[in-house]
């Protein structure tokens, strides 16, 4: 059998941890091979070894049967290995062509950069793989999905035979994801091979041929996608049975907890981004806000939580006005907030887990008295919550930075839920997390609902919205354009509503 890439018995250590322990992965020519694992399982480390960024302590890498030593990314490039990074490495004010040829510029006889020739080549490549990229467009003017295609083109332009995609769908809209799948298929048709790093099982089922699973740094095995299903993959990845159907009883909405009336908010650039928005969330229900990123969701949450001033309108919590109150006042009046960007807002990464647990309550008894902190109480609480919410950390004294994304998020949720707020706002609570953590977080949200709390969920993942919400409010251009029940709708319809097209249901914003 022909393998283009073989990584055999790879072992990579970092001080204190073994990131990869005896992992094997063999990539056949012309296949899409998924590399599946939870966050922190060692997928990125393995691929960085292949790309020459790390040197393995043990193991062998073979390219087309020949043993090679890849000591830096240039060697990887020469061997025809290209990487499409999760975070794009593009110069914004440059054009597509300029970005692609950067560091590898074709010269004319007089030594000037031959842009014309490069543009032509890129156009040809783009046409051949159906990428539809305009070589002369500037990066800052094109969409995220398009930027990703530029990254793909960059690897192709440098003659990559094997493309590594690192979590490529994390930043894309549902429509863009579908298009990416098409592109991958056409790459395969042209004889390329692909390694797809992901933890999204649906994508694997849809597009991949085989799948290698790693768990906690160890290789679990490789399966044919044809012969498996989502449940099996999930249990391979997590190491136990995972349920996908979020089990929940029907909601029993009671009194209105949050009521937003005619809210207007400007964003950081002073542009109206929330425009006379109306919204109600009742005790005992989860309201999911569906929408494409950038339609005012962030500003809505910031206005409710006091992080941004609103221009006009009213925000009431339990019939009390909390419009333009400080974040502390809002928190104290009973709002919990799982922020969208956990590194920026949710945690002080250099603080210990314990210190992060009391981020909003440090000034209250028993955590401090007369401004003097009581470390004993703080860490006692932290340990209690670590236990209760299954936060995997060496200790409560470990800096939050050292935790995996899922465990950081669990710590935040533990903190927010433990305060028992009447309204829990969860913004993108599962972004970048693996199935195990997602399952846990969804369960916690529903538990809160069942306790009679109001939950406001903001997510760009339609799956999540459809799965968890009791009511879906579709947000477009700063307004709630539609309100539907999850059982009465589907992804296609939501996708259209989110894109702003009017349907018969539109206009009902209550």
């Amino acid at each position: 059998m022909d393998y283009v890439i073989e990584m055999l018995n790879i072992r990579k250590e970092f001080p204190g941890i073994v990131a990869n322990d005896n992992i094997n992965i063999q990539l056949k020519k012309g296949e899409i091979h998924a590399l599946l694992g939870e966050n922190g399982a060692g997928k990125s480390t393995l691929m960085n070894v292949l790309f020459g960024l790390y040197q393995p302590e043990k193991g062998q890498i073979r390219v087309k049967g020949e043993t090679v030593k890849i000591t830096n990314p240039n060697i990887a490039n020469d061997l025809g290995i290209g990487m499409v990074h999760q975070h794009f490495m593009l110069v914004e004010p440059f054009t597509v062509t300029q970005n692609i040829i950067l560091g590898n510029e074709p010269k004319t006889k007089t030594g000037r950069i031959n842009i014309k020739k490069a543009e032509q080549e890129i156009q040809e490549l783009s046409d051949r793989y159906g990428l539809k990229v305009d070589p002369s467009a500037k990066i800052k003017d094109i969409s995220v999905g398009m930027q990703q295609r530029v990254e793909i083109l960059k690897t192709l332009y440098r003659g990559a035979e094997v493309l590594i995609f690192d979590e490529p769908t994390a930043v894309l809209t549902p429509q863009e994801i579908t298009e990416l799948m098409e592109i991958m298929r056409s790459l395969i048709k042209e004889g390329k091979s692909i390694i797809l790093i992901t933890h999204k099982l649906k994508e694997i089922m849809e597009v991949c041929d085989r799948c290698t699973v790693i768990r906690k740094g160890k290789g679990i095995g490789t399966v044919d996608v044809k012969n498996t299903n989502v449940n099996e993959l999930a249990s391979l990845m997590v190491g136990r049975e995972v349920s996908f159907e979020t089990e929940k009883k029907p909601a029993q909405p009671k009194d209105v907890v949050l009521s937003v009336k005619d809210l207007k908010v400007k964003d950081a650039r002073k542009v109206d981004s929330v425009k006379e928005l109306n919204l109600e969330v009742r005790a005992g229900e989860i309201v999911g806000i569906a929408g494409i990123d950038g339609n005012g969701q962030t500003e809505l949450i910031e206005a409710i939580t006091g992080l941004t001033k609103s221009q006009s309108g009213k925000i009431m919590l339990n019939n009390k006005d909390i419009t333009n109150k400080t974040p502390r006042k809002v928190t104290e009046s009973g709002v919990g907030h799982i922020p969208q960007d956990r590194h920026k807002y949710g945690l002080v990464l250099d603080y210990t887990v314990g210190e992060n647990i009391v981020l909003q309550t440090y000034y209250q008894k028993p955590y401090s008295k007369n401004t003097i902190l009581n470390h004993k109480e703080i860490y006692q609480k932290a340990e209690e919550l670590i236990e209760q919410f299954d936060v995997r950390t060496p200790s409560a004294y470990t800096p939050a930075r050292a935790l995996s994304g899922g465990n950081q998020q669990k710590a935040i949720i533990a903190r927010e839920v433990d305060r028992s707020p009447d309204l829990l706002i969860a913004a993108q609570p599962t972004r970048g997390l693996d199935v195990g953590a997602i399952e846990f977080i969804h369960k916690k949200l529903i538990e809160e609902r069942d306790k009679g709390k109001a939950v406001l969920l903001i997510s760009f993942e339609l799956d999540e919205i459809l799965d968890v919400s009791d009511r879906i409010a579709v947000m477009f251009d700063g307004k709630i354009v539609s309100s539907v029940k999850p059982e009465d709708t589907n992804e296609q319809e939501l996708g259209l509503l989110m894109a702003g097209s009017q349907t018969t249901k539109a206009g009902d914003s209550k």
Partner: protein, 349 residues
């Protein structure tokens, strides 16, 4: 990992000091001086007898305080270049109170010390306010405030405190930190009780930072302003508090000079450099209260001992300055190395 980091923070300054001394030795050797003689003269100059020990402690005292001033602000993510100006106004205010008021020592001395701290605090408040409310970078403002302090205090000495003289009268003995007993012990060195205040200030800083909600907020703001705002802290207030306390430390350093070392204030023909040395002290002390005390002591020893090197071993003072600069250089570059190492670690995750 935390214990590893702590060890790291301890070892790196020690190694850099060692490297600095080593490089200094090589330079001495290359320029034809005997490094062993040079360093033994340095040692004699700092610890040779009671007088030099007294002077070393005296020299260390204000450096501890300016080191704290820089380190404290740094803990909340602010770079206090203004310790220099805060020292000058603290000095001026302390001497002013020492001259203008008649009161028993038990009131007069604390009042004068407090005046120094308050003046320094005020000098920290202005950049803190501008940073918090208008987002003006504190480095620019504090540098400017240094000049304002220098020229204003010179003018006040000339026109208000004296009639166009170069220095003020000596302060009343009821406001003096000087101690005949200590001076007698140390062959009339200028050692004074201020070192107790400096040590106490270090303990205060440690307590504030580690044990109180104020320190908790200040550090949080230093690490991550967004998360601090999210969690309900008043970021502006914390920036101002941090600069005021930092300025207060530096103001105390000025009070030490005014009430202890000199007993007056003289026209300054340039900066005292206490504030600028404080930056290096804070860097070497890893912005930790205890580390600052040790770093200040090292600087005190180097600077005091340096005086003996020209007369004692024929090594020119310029060379001594080079050695001190080299130590700072190695500390600074070790900071870069440590930063790089930590980054490397993080990415390895």
């Amino acid at each position: 990992m935390t214990s590893n980091n702590k060890l790291f923070a301890l070892i790196i300054p020690v190694i850099s000091v060692f490297l600095g001394l080593l490089a200094g030795a090589i330079i001495m050797l290359l320029s034809g001086y005997n490094p062993i003689e040079g360093y033994s003269a340095l040692w004699r100059g700092a610890f040779g007898d009671a007088f030099t020990i007294g002077e070393t402690i005296r020299r260390t005292t204000p450096l501890i305080l300016t080191g704290l001033a820089v380190a404290f602000a740094f803990r909340s993510g602010l770079f206090n270049i203004g310790a220099e100006g805060q020292v000058i106004v603290g000095w001026l205010a302390a001497v002013w109170v020492g001259l203008a008021i008649e009161a028993p020592m038990i009131i007069h001395l604390p009042l004068a010390v407090l005046a120094g701290a308050l003046a320094g605090g005020l000098w920290g408040f202005v950049p803190g306010l501008l940073k918090a409310k208008l987002g003006v970078h504190e480095v620019i403002i504090t540098i400017m405030m240094n000049y304002i302090a220098l020229y204003i205090s010179n003018e006040i000495i000339r026109s208000v405190l004296t009639d166009h003289a170069t220095k003020t009268d000596q302060i009343a003995s009821s406001a003096s930190l000087a101690s005949e007993w200590l001076q007698g012990l140390t062959y009339y060195s200028r050692i004074h009780y201020g070192f107790l205040i400096a040590i106490f200030a270090a303990v205060i800083m440690w307590f504030l930072i580690q044990r109180t909600t104020i320190g908790y907020e200040l550090k949080a703001v230093g690490f991550n302003q967004h998360a601090s705002k999210y969690s309900g802290m008043n970021v502006s207030k914390n920036i101002i508090i941090s600069m005021v306390i930092a300025g207060g430390f530096a103001g105390l350093a000025g009070a030490m000079e005014g009430l202890g070392t000199y007993g007056n204030i003289h026209l300054m023909s340039g900066f005292t450099n206490l504030g600028f040395d404080g930056i290096a002290v804070a860097l070497l002390g890893a912005n930790n209260a205890f580390g600052v005390v040790l770093a200040a002591l090292l600087f005190g020893v180097l600077k005091e001992g340096a005086g003996e090197m020209p007369t004692g071993a024929g090594v020119p003072t310029e060379l001594v300055d080079i050695i001190i600069a080299l130590i700072i250089f190695f500390v600074a570059s070790s900071y870069i190395i440590r930063w790089a190492l930590l980054r490397f670690k993080k990415e390895g995750k």
